[in-house]
Symmetry: C2
């Protein structure tokens, strides 16, 4: 089951709109196939594993281990549970029951009716974390928010003239691109885009196709239509705005405009996260700027921070990583848990989780 | 010799005004004594080692290893070299020749004249770093400056209302006290003192007597005479000022006032460091505030930063760890080398060295 968990890890960031799942098939104490949720969630892990076995007769009497209850409903794919029944598996080990109301124990019932033994037990120690993100998107309509910050040792993301090329070194930046591949989508404020006209893609060789779909906050549609994010790729780009008469909207299949309400002077961040979640995106990578980071931290929507810190100092006057959150006493600081630290040459990465 | 080096390490922070030195005596392939520079630099390491041996006849024909050339001049102590001759050592191993013009090879000459074999070779790998600090104070009149910063993850040392109790956790703060014990003296701006009326001593049990002497920047003598730093201890306190008619100076033996020139609106930091060095202090710990840190970093006087970072966020508006250094492009950031990282519960310590 730990191996199945590792398989699920492989799938993270490429399974939208399905959750990443891993599966292992065992016959006569030998692993005969491994599977994980494929690109765009199809095929599912169980079927991916089954497809590895050429002689389907070998599956008779085999056991399948999976990190999430197999599906029993028809979506893009026919239900996995039917294939398990068809090929006469003897046992099904499941880490967790699916909380999706379309499944939720139905598959287990169906399997047991056909005299297939079902054992529900959480074997791995990380499966729960992987599935929690899926369940949270189902029940609370909130995506898993990872904030990426690249700052100096003193927490500045740019000089007073907004220069930021480059704060962190190339090793850190490569890892930053890996984060892009591991998330379903990205969210950025328009400041970053207006400043640098970036591509915001994943430029790691071989992983280019994993460049995440893009969500942009552009309250009054200030980003020019000829900017790279609109012209360079065919991935989905969603623009959140509240009033935008200034520019004509682009008429492109992959670019969508979503109107949201305002909360004070800023776009309503809760509404934005809910909309992203409802579109099926579970893992979102936020790459600044300062205001977006501040707004997410202030409202406790950040699940994880990947903080890259260069061994440089800019000092006061530089652009702060996190905008003013109105914190005036030590009791109201926003607290996190330091999960991991890693050196990237002369930079250091600190990974923080929810307190 | 590596053991001698370890002995030298023991002495760091308690040998003012002498450099920390370690010594080992070997006879018939057996270590018969170890020594290191004692409190207030007396006795020196070699004599401290010699004193361990009760039957001085045992020293005849022995070898002594020392991390720095033994002294040949009379200071607070009679010259070590005479004792080495008196007890008829056969060999003297020396890591480095003393650059102090009062010694500088003279001891080696004297020993060789008496047919004692002298071998000069750097055995340990850290001795050079220890001695460099001593030599630098001799030749450049500059102390080794260690900056201690305790900040949030985003580099703030206090909230906008200047609240800072406590940013870092108790484990970090204990280590902070250890740093005080390991330095000859401390330097702080008056802001820190006016804000908190701190004791600035070493409160680790057993090390209280190692509380470093204190240097304070108080340009116009604003710190009230009844503050703890003036009343609580008998250690030396030096106050740097440029004009101070407002308060009457204290007439206490351990408190001294030193007038320095101004550079722009601030006290001349180079003059201050030179004066500290001339007083014999080699290792200085700087504990903020923001302006002092900025001034030292800007002028490249910082040799080491011990940066404690809590997993909290305050955001813009909080007090920056380092004041404005006028840096507007990425080429002029102040760069350091990340030497070490260590977790203190949920805080992390990053140690930076000169680039």
């Amino acid at each position: 089951m730990q191996l199945a968990e590792r398989m699920a890890h492989r799938a993270i960031g490429s399974t939208y709109p399905n959750p990443p799942v891993g599966a292992i098939i065992v016959k006569d104490k030998t692993i005969i196939a491994r599977g994980w949720t494929q690109r765009n969630g199809s095929p599912h892990a169980e079927v991916h594993a089954i497809n590895q076995v050429r002689d389907k007769k070998a599956l008779e009497g085999a056991s399948i281990y999976t990190t999430l209850e197999p599906c029993s409903h028809v979506g893009k794919n026919p239900p996995c549970v039917d294939k398990i029944i068809k090929y006469k598996f003897a046992k099904v080990f499941i880490s967790e029951i699916d909380k999706n109301t379309l499944v939720k124990g139905k598959s287990i019932k169906k399997l047991r009716k056909r005299k297939i033994k079902v054992i529900v037990k959480n074997f791995g120690n990380q499966t729960k974390n992987i599935n929690k993100i899926f369940f949270n998107s189902l029940t609370n309509n909130l995506p898993h928010v990872t904030l990426k910050i690249a700052s100096t040792a003193d927490g500045k993301i740019a000089t007073k003239l907004k220069k930021s090329k480059w704060i962190t070194n190339s090793v850190s930046r490569q890892h930053g691109h890996m984060l892009r591949a591991q998330n379903d989508c990205m969210l950025v404020g328009n400041g970053t885009i207006l400043e640098d006209n970036p591509s915001l893609d994943c430029r790691l060789r071989g992983l280019e196709s994993l460049s995440p779909d893009l969500f942009i906050l552009d309250s009054s549609l200030k980003i020019p239509n000829n900017y790279k994010i609109f012209t360079k790729f065919s991935r989905n780009v969603f623009v959140f705005y509240s009033d935008g008469k200034k520019l004509s909207k682009l008429n492109k299949k992959n670019i969508k405009y979503i109107k949201v309400s305002k909360k004070g002077s800023e776009l309503n961040i809760k509404e934005i996260l809910n909309k992203i979640s409802k579109l099926g995106y579970m893992r979102i990578l936020v790459e600044g700027g300062s205001h977006l980071s501040g707004s997410l931290i202030k409202n406790n929507y950040v699940n994880e921070i990947q903080w890259f810190r260069a061994s440089k100092i800019i000092g006061k006057g530089g652009v702060d990583a996190v905008s003013d959150m109105g914190i005036s006493n030590m009791k109201s600081t926003k607290n996190f848990v330091l999960l991991k630290s890693k050196n990237y040459a002369n930079d250091i990465l600190n990974v923080y989780g929810k307190d």
